[in-house]
């Protein structure tokens, strides 16, 4: 693996920034030059948010263009659909199996796309798309507000990047969550990683 670009997308308040901070820290730990980019301010307050993390021997642009993301972590299903063209054809997309209804949907003016449509759109870009039960797994640990899907998703991702030691990931996670929730988050990470155990993908060989 010589370089890697990660796109993260979700809804303001879901922990997109925490997840991208972890990815940046892991990249630095592995000896890469790293850049990370996100937008604050108006992007919060329940709106769509994206974050970019790039690892390379030398990173120039902090941004990822369409078709340039090797990995796409979608923390919400509609956001996966919204940004899928950012993924390199054949890249890896992990989707948190979780719905946050936009106002136009909850007020009945728009329809939320069904799973079948989401899966079919994603698979037209890559054979390597996987749904992760991020929130369900996090909730199984008993504290839905302390552990969120973001860490589960990172655990799932770690399964697909085999050459990074799991300890490197866990250290980056533990350093970025409140101390009292560090163990809980480690368990969430491991649940996410284990949930992908049977999944095989050749996505990295094309990177």
């Amino acid at each position: 693996m010589t370089k890697m670009s990660f796109l993260l997308a979700g809804v303001g308040g879901q922990g997109t920034i925490l997840a991208s901070d972890v990815l940046a820290a892991v990249g630095l730990q592995m000896g890469y030059d790293v850049k990370k980019s996100e937008v604050h301010g108006m992007a919060q307050r329940g709106g769509s948010v994206t974050s970019n993390v790039r690892w390379d021997a030398k990173v120039y642009s902090p941004l990822i263009g369409p078709g340039e993301a090797d990995v796409f972590l979608a923390l919400e299903k509609l956001e996966a659909l919204r940004h899928i063209e950012m993924l390199r054809p054949g890249g890896l997309v992990l989707v948190n199996d979780y719905v946050i209804s936009p106002l136009s949907v909850s007020s009945g003016n728009d329809d939320y796309p069904d799973d079948e449509r989401i899966r079919s759109v994603l698979s037209s870009v890559t054979p390597n798309s996987f749904f992760v039960a991020g929130v369900t797994l996090a909730e199984s640990l008993g504290n839905a507000r302390a552990v969120r899907g973001n860490v589960v998703l990172l655990g799932a991702l770690s399964h697909f990047i085999a050459d990074i030691p799991v300890e490197t990931w866990l250290q980056a996670v533990r350093e970025r969550v409140p101390t009292k929730f560090a163990d809980l988050n480690e368990r969430a990470f491991r649940l996410g990683r284990a949930s992908m155990q049977e999944r095989k993908s050749d996505w990295a060989s094309h990177a």
Partner: protein, 612 residues
């Protein structure tokens, strides 16, 4: 040497601390806010939020007059507010270094307009430095202060959103120059610091000479960097655009300007002579391009009709650049072959429900707009979270221009003879920022504008900064808590109501009273932002009584993300009943007050049911 992974904003704070900035002042504004937030907890530095950017710049100027290195920080439109001070500061110069950190917002991620503040530098004869990454953001603060002292001028450090909010590894010293034992000497020089016409006429030639000397200095400035490679194409670039240029054109020759005003004329001529085709890649205005063209050098980039240009641009004048935009523009202009294109699959997705930023669940502004809608009022809005109410279903405010505009606009509408009642709506921090003179104007000029101050006890939009009403300073000191009621009265308003934003009846009664009176009035709608730590402690999700709900849909009109349609249809109406999302609902009870059938159980009802 310490290595840290820092955003551009954090790097600027470190640069300020390491180069001995003693006084820093700002008004929060995306994308610049984190600079002072990062600096404030550092030792031996004084940092404050000011009511607005003009005050912040004056504070920094005063500190620099008094011999201490100083920094003022603002977003691009903040410099519009501080422009008066920017110009006199250029005229007077100062005793110690003054850096004005200005963050432009290409693409208007969080702003009302795009503007290229390099124009201000040329306008006021102030040098402009532009970093291309976090390391340079840190380094150029110190350089700016040295230049400021060497040339007796304020210096602008210009950032953009992308630079402010992207992170990279930065090497830091981790130390700060030793503190002075004695206070710095304070030299009063009225010929320099009193800008009456006689003195000002003597100063103007001085600053014209100064900018000429700076242009000479720019020729060897080490952050103006020539990277000579293939000479078929030469690119002049600046800021974060350099990164896109390097990524898209790894083999081209590049002249990266770290000082974009004044430009190094000889260096530009030298570079232009070495390359076959010269283009400029810069965001927003064709500023460098115009400077190059003024030298008589043929150059391509973008065409500005505003500057009398004709023909086609290679790169867009609007919005932000990225490598994709640079690459596609270059392919179109035959700077690159079509084979340079990155393969992209753009699947047919159909229309997707949009997800714009919205008022949060429990936001105290929501109920106020519900009432203004009920009373069919035209709402002149302002800059803050409440602007987000403009989308359906609330659909208010109806105008929003810039900080403090609401009151003056509403007053002007009334003076134009419009009979529909207009109200002005602005937040507490925005009222302190520029709302106060406008309210004074309404009182003085016998207006009848109703001004609603949404007092959520914080500066919410930018992430909960202190303001003059909160009783705390940026560095956490307890201080006077300015009372909005007394302030409104002091500004000449006699009819002042204070209501709880969560109490719709109270809000409506107060507004009705103001509308019935033909005089200027103020309604202070007070309730702490629902995201404040104290407010979070009292969150309590409400519940819909499914038996009572008949799916009438009234509660959906408050536009709360926690109020959603349930899967259960009402047997009679066939419409979906309402449901409250327990993870989102804070228990503000706005929807419960709106419900005609009392189907949404209040906190009291739920507590009672639990106890029973």
């Amino acid at each position: 040497m310490v290595r840290r992974f820092l955003s551009g904003n954090e790097a600027v704070a470190w640069g300020a601390w390491e180069s001995g900035v003693r006084v820093a002042a700002a008004y929060p504004g995306t994308p610049s806010t984190e600079i002072l937030e990062t600096l404030a907890p550092m030792p031996n530095v004084y940092a404050e939020w000011c009511p607005n950017e003009k005050v912040a710049l004056d504070v920094a100027v005063g500190a620099a007059y008094a011999g201490s290195r100083a920094m003022a920080v603002m977003k691009h439109v903040g410099l519009n507010v501080a422009a008066d001070s920017f110009f006199y500061a250029s005229m007077t110069g100062m005793q110690a270094g003054l850096v004005i950190v200005n963050a432009d917002d290409p693409f208007m991620h969080s702003s009302q307009n795009e503007q290229d503040n390099r124009r201000y530098c040329k306008f006021a004869r102030v040098p402009c430095l532009e970093p291309s990454d976090s390391q340079e953001a840190r380094d150029l603060v110190g350089v700016a202060l040295e230049l400021s002292e060497q040339f007796d001028t304020p210096v602008m450090l210009r950032l953009t959103t992308r630079l402010s909010h992207s992170s990279a590894v930065v090497e830091l010293l981790g130390t700060r120059p030793p503190e002075r034992v004695q206070a710095p000497a304070y030299h009063l020089d009225t010929t320099k610091y009193v800008m009456v016409p006689g003195n000002a006429r003597r100063r103007h030639p001085v600053i014209e000479e100064r900018i000429a000397k700076l242009a000479e200095y720019a020729e060897t400035f080490r952050f103006n960097r020539m990277e000579l490679k293939d000479t078929a194409l030469g690119i002049v670039t600046n800021g974060v655009a350099y990164q896109y240029a390097r990524e898209v054109f790894p083999e081209a020759s590049i002249l990266r300007l770290g000082m974009t005003y004044p430009v190094p004329q000889k260096l530009l001529r030298e570079f232009a002579a070495k390359v076959e085709r010269l283009v400029v890649i810069e965001e927003l205005d064709p500023f460098l391009e115009e400077e190059i063209r003024l030298l008589g050098i043929p150059v391509e980039g973008k065409v500005s009709a505003a500057a009398g240009g004709r023909g086609k641009s290679i790169f867009p004048i609007c919005g932000e650049l990225d490598q994709q935009i640079v690459r596609e523009s270059a392919i179109k202009a035959e700077l690159l072959p079509a084979s340079a294109r990155v393969p992209v699959v753009r699947p047919e997705k159909g229309a997707l429900p949009p997800r714009p930023p919205i008022l949060c669940p429990g936001c105290p502004h929501r109920g106020v707009f519900y009432v203004t809608n009920k009373l069919k009022l035209v709402v002149n809005g302002d800059i803050g979270c409440y602007t987000l109410g403009f989308l359906p279903p609330l659909g208010a405010p109806h105008t929003c221009g810039c900080m403090g505009a609401s009151i003056g606009v509403a007053h002007g509408v009334a003076k134009a003879g419009i009979v529909e009642r207009n109200v002005a709506v602005l937040g507490d921090s925005t009222f302190f920022h520029t709302g106060m003179p406008a309210l004074l104007n309404v009182a003085w000029n016998r207006g009848n504008t109703v001004t609603i101050i949404l007092d959520n006890r914080t500066t919410a939009m930018t992430g909960h900064q202190e303001n003059p009403g909160t009783g705390h300073t940026l560095q956490g000191a307890e201080t006077v808590q300015v009372e909005l009621e007394a302030l409104a009265r002091a500004l000449g308003i006699q009819r002042v109501h204070t209501v709880d934003s969560y109490n719709l009846k109270q809000v409506e009664a107060a507004l009705q009273d103001c509308l019935n009176a033909n005089e200027p009035s103020v309604v202070i709608a007070r309730r702490e932002c629902a995201l404040m730590p104290e407010a979070r402690k009292s969150w309590m999700p409400l519940r819909v009584d499914e038996e009572r709900c008949n799916g009438c849909g009234l509660c959906f009109r408050v536009g709360c993300p926690a109020v959603v349609k349930s899967d259960v249809l009402d047997a009679k109406t066939g419409k979906p009943k309402a449901r409250l999302d327990a993870l989102l609902c804070t228990g503000c009870e706005i929807c419960a007050q709106v419900c005609a059938r009392k189907a949404i159980l209040t906190r009291a009802q739920l507590t009672e049911a639990e106890e029973a």
